[in-house]
C-alpha cells in the first residue's frame, strides 16, 4: 500500500499496487507463453510437456474462476448471495452451444443439416429461438444478452420489492431449478437431458486440433484477466464503495441519496453477463452442455468456491475456484464416491475455522505482523 501523500489527504485505493501488476504479468506469461510452448512445441516425451488433459482442465477451471469472480462481486462485495449463478453460466453455454451445433452441419449421424436430436424428434424445421443461430455474431450476442436480460428483469422485480437475504437466495435457487426442468424437456428444443455435444468446428475450424484447444485456452485466460481487472476497477471505484456500503448499511446508503435499486441492478446484471461469457468459453473446451449445469447443487458449489478463497477479495474467488476444482478433479478419480462428503466437510471447516477464507486469513496474518 502506498503511503498517504504529503498533504496528509488520505488516498483512495488504486487499481493495483506494483506487486499486483507483477503477479498479473507473471500469470499472463504462464498462460500465454509457457502453456503454448510446453503444449505445442515441447515433444510429448519431454519433461516440459503439458498434455492436452491439463490444458483442458486449467481452461475449464479458468471459466469457473470467472464465475467465482462474478459471484464475489455480487456476494462478497454487495452482500447479495445468489444461489442461481449456475443458470447464467448454463445459458451462456447453451447460447454458444447452439452455434456449435449448427457448425456440425451435415456431419451428424443422420447426415442432415440439422442437429441430431431434432432429426430424432422428427422436426422438419428449426424452432423460433434457433433463428440466426448459424451466425457467430448473433450467438455471441445471445451469450451476453440472454443472461443479462434475464438477470435484469428478475433483479428489477426482486430488488424493487426489497427481497433480501435468504429469501433472495431461495428465489434464485428456485429459478435455476425451474430452468433445469424446462431444459430437460425435449420440446424446449435444447436437446433435452442430453443437451448439446459432438461439436466439430468453430468458424469452420476443427475444434479438436491442439492449436484450436490452445486458442480457446488463451482466450479464456485473457477473459479471466480482463474480468479480474474489471472487477478490481469496480471495487476500487466510487461505485464499488457504494456497493460495499449497501452490504454493510443499506438504509444509510438510501438516506444518503443513493437509489440502491440501480446499483444492485447494475452489479447483478454484470455478474450474470460474466457468467454467460464464462459458460460460452466452457462449452467448446469441455465439449458438452446439458441441463445438469443448472442443478441447484452446481450453483451452491460456486458459493463454496468463493467462501473457501475468501469473500470480498476477488483474488480469493479465483484461488477458491482453483483449489476446490483442482481437488475435485483429483478426488473424483481417486475416491469418486467421497467427493461430496469432502466438499461438505471443506465448507464446514472453512466456515468454522477460516470465515474469511484462505486469502482473508492470509491478509489477517500479514497485517498482524509488526
Amino acid at each position: 500500500m502506498d503511503a498517504p501523500p504529503a498533504s496528509g489527504a488520505p488516498r483512495l485505493p488504486g487499481l493495483l499496487g506494483p506487486s499486483g501488476w507483477l503477479a498479473l504479468a507473471a500469470f499472463a506469461v504462464v498462460l500465454f507463453v509457457v502453456f503454448p510452448l510446453c503444449n505445442l512445441v515441447a515433444p510429448p516425451d519431454s519433461a516440459f510437456h503439458i498434455s492436452a488433459y491439463w490444458v483442458t482442465l486449467i481452461g475449464k477451471i479458468m471459466c469457473y474462476a470467472m464465475v467465482a469472480l462474478a459471484m464475489d462481486l455480487i456476494w462478497g462485495y454487495t452482500g447479495i448471495l445468489s444461489l442461481g449463478h449456475g443458470l447464467f453460466f448454463a445459458l451462456g453455454g447453451y447460447a454458444f452451444g447452439m452455434y456449435l451445433m449448427r457448425q456440425i452441419g451435415a456431419d451428424g449421424q443422420y447426415r442432415v443439416n440439422m442437429p441430431d436430436f431434432m432429426v430424432f424428434l422428427d422436426w422438419k424445421e428449426f424452432p423460433w429461438h434457433w433463428w440466426m443461430s448459424d451466425q457467430f455474431w448473433w450467438c455471441a450476442l445471445l451469450v451476453v444478452g440472454v443472461p443479462g436480460l434475464l438477470a435484469f428483469v428478475f433483479g428489477y422485480f426482486a430488488f424493487r420489492s426489497r427481497v433480501k437475504g435468504v429469501y433472495f437466495s431461495i428465489i434464485t435457487q428456485a429459478l435455476t431449478y425451474a430452468a433445469m426442468l424446462l431444459f430437460f424437456r425435449n420440446a424446449t428444443g435444447f436437446g433435452g437431458n442430453n443437451g448439446f455435444t459432438d461439436f466439430k468446428r468453430i468458424l469452420g475450424i476443427p475444434i479438436t486440433t491442439p492449436e484450436m484447444r490452445m486458442a480457446l485456452f488463451a482466450i479464456t485466460g485473457a477473459a479471466l484477466i480482463g474480468t479480474l481487472l474489471l472487477g478490481r476497477y469496480i471495487v476500487t471505484s466510487k461505485l464499488g464503495r457504494v456497493l460495499t456500503a449497501i452490504r454493510d448499511a443499506e438504509s444509510r446508503v438510501m438516506f444518503s441519496g443513493y437509489n440502491t435499486l440501480w446499483y444492485k441492478q447494475f452489479i447483478w446484471t454484470l455478474s450474470a453477463v460474466i457468467c454467460g461469457v464464462a459458460g460460452a468459453l466452457y462449452v467448446p473446451q469441455v465439449g458438452i452442455i446439458n441441463p445438469s449445469e443448472m442443478s441447484p447443487a452446481n450453483s451452491i458449489e460456486i458459493a463454496i468456491w468463493v467462501a473457501v478463497g475468501g469473500r470480498g477479495t476477488l483474488i480469493g474467488a479465483v484461488l477458491g475456484a482453483g483449489l476446490v476444482n483442482g481437488a475435485k478433479s483429483w478426488f473424483t478419480v481417486a475416491f469418486p464416491e467421497y467427493w461430496l462428503f469432502f466438499l461438505g466437510l471443506l465448507f464446514i471447516a472453512v466456515t468454522l475455522f477460516m470465515p474469511r477464507g484462505v486469502v482473508g486469513t492470509l491478509q489477517r496474518l500479514r497485517s498482524r505482523r509488526p
Partner: protein, 275 residues
C-alpha cells in the same frame, strides 16, 4: 457556493445568514416553515404509533422533541424520511414538496438528512470514504463508475473532518471508532449532503459528558444555518441547546414551547413522572 461545513465553521452571528443558507431553488419557504406535518396517523397492527400528529418546523429553527418511550418520536422520523408511509395525513417539505410521494433517496436529495438512533456508518470504510460517499453529488450509477475526487472535494471533506473532530482519524476504518466518534461521523456525513433540514435521533446516546458537551456546541453551531430537529432523552443536553421544545405523548403533541414553560407544564410532569 459555500458549503455546509464552511458555513458552519464561520462563527459570525449574522441574523440574516440563515435565510441565505436555507432559501434555495426548489424549496418554497415563503411561509417560513420548512416542514409541515398535518394530522399524521400511523398504526402498526392496531397500535397507534402516531395519532393525528401536527407539527411545524420553521426554516433555520432548532427544535427539540422529547417524550417518553413509545411516544412516536422515531416513527415520526420514519414518516418524514419516507421509511414509513402514514395511514393518513400530509407531510410537506417547504410549501410544495409532498414527502409522502417520494422515496428515501429522493427525500435525501430534496435536502433532508437523517441520523439514526443507533449510529449507522459504513463500518468497513475509512472515515474519509464515509464522508466521500455521503458528499452531495450526482448519485446515479453511471456517475459513480467514473467519479474522481477533485481538490475542492478533498477540501470539503477536510473541513468536515475538522468540524467533527476526526481529522486525525481520517484513514481509520469507521468500525474501529468509539461510539461517540461514530455519532459525530454520522453527523458529518449528513453535513456532506448539504441538507436543508437535519433530523438527529438521539445524537448523544452513549456519549461521555465531554462528548455530549462538544455535541451541544456542534448543534449550536449548526442551528441557524440549517433547520434541525433533535430527538433526545438527555434533558441536560436538551436544555443546553433547546430554543423550542415539543413534547410527544402517545403519538401526538402534548405541549410545545420554550424549555422552561414545557418543563413546568403539569401535563408534561405527569407524563414523565406519573408512570
Amino acid at each position: 457556493m459555500s458549503t455546509a461545513a464552511d458555513t458552519a465553521l464561520q462563527s459570525g452571528d449574522d441574523p440574516q445568514a440563515p435565510l441565505g443558507r436555507v432559501l434555495q431553488p426548489g424549496l418554497d419557504l415563503s411561509h417560513r416553515a420548512i416542514l409541515y406535518l398535518e394530522d399524521i396517523s400511523v398504526s402498526f397492527d392496531g397500535f397507534k404509533a402516531l395519532d393525528k400528529l401536527g407539527l411545524t418546523i420553521d426554516a433555520g429553527e432548532l427544535r427539540c422533541i422529547i417524550g417518553p418511550n413509545g411516544a412516536g418520536k422515531t416513527t415520526m422520523m420514519d414518516v418524514i424520511t419516507g421509511k414509513t408511509r402514514p395511514d393518513a395525513g400530509r407531510v410537506f417539505f417547504g410549501q410544495t414538496i409532498d414527502l409522502t410521494r417520494l422515496s428515501e433517496a429522493e427525500i435525501a436529495h430534496a435536502g433532508i438528512g437523517r441520523k439514526f438512533q443507533k449510529p449507522t456508518v459504513f463500518e468497513q470504510h475509512t472515515v474519509f470514504e464515509n464522508l466521500e460517499l455521503a458528499m452531495k453529488a450526482d448519485k446515479r450509477v453511471r456517475k459513480a463508475v467514473f467519479a474522481r475526487l477533485g481538490s475542492a472535494e478533498h477540501d470539503r471533506i477536510a473541513d468536515t473532518l475538522r468540524l467533527i473532530r476526526l481529522a486525525d482519524t481520517a484513514d481509520r476504518i469507521a468500525g474501529l471508532l468509539s461510539h461517540g466518534q461514530k455519532q459525530w461521523l454520522e453527523i458529518g456525513m449528513l453535513l456532506m449532503q448539504e441538507p436543508k433540514l437535519l433530523l438527529l435521533d438521539e445524537p448523544v446516546a452513549g456519549m461521555t459528558d465531554e462528548e455530549t458537551e462538544r455535541t451541544a456546541e456542534l448543534c449550536n453551531t449548526l442551528a441557524g444555518r440549517h433547520s434541525l430537529v433533535v430527538v433526545e432523552h438527555d434533558m441536560d443536553f436538551v436544555s443546553r441547546i433547546a430554543r423550542k421544545v415539543t413534547v410527544l405523548h402517545e403519538g401526538s403533541v402534548l405541549a410545545e414551547g420554550p424549555m422552561d414553560t414545557v418543563q413546568n407544564d403539569p401535563r408534561v410532569i405527569e407524563v414523565y413522572l406519573g408512570r
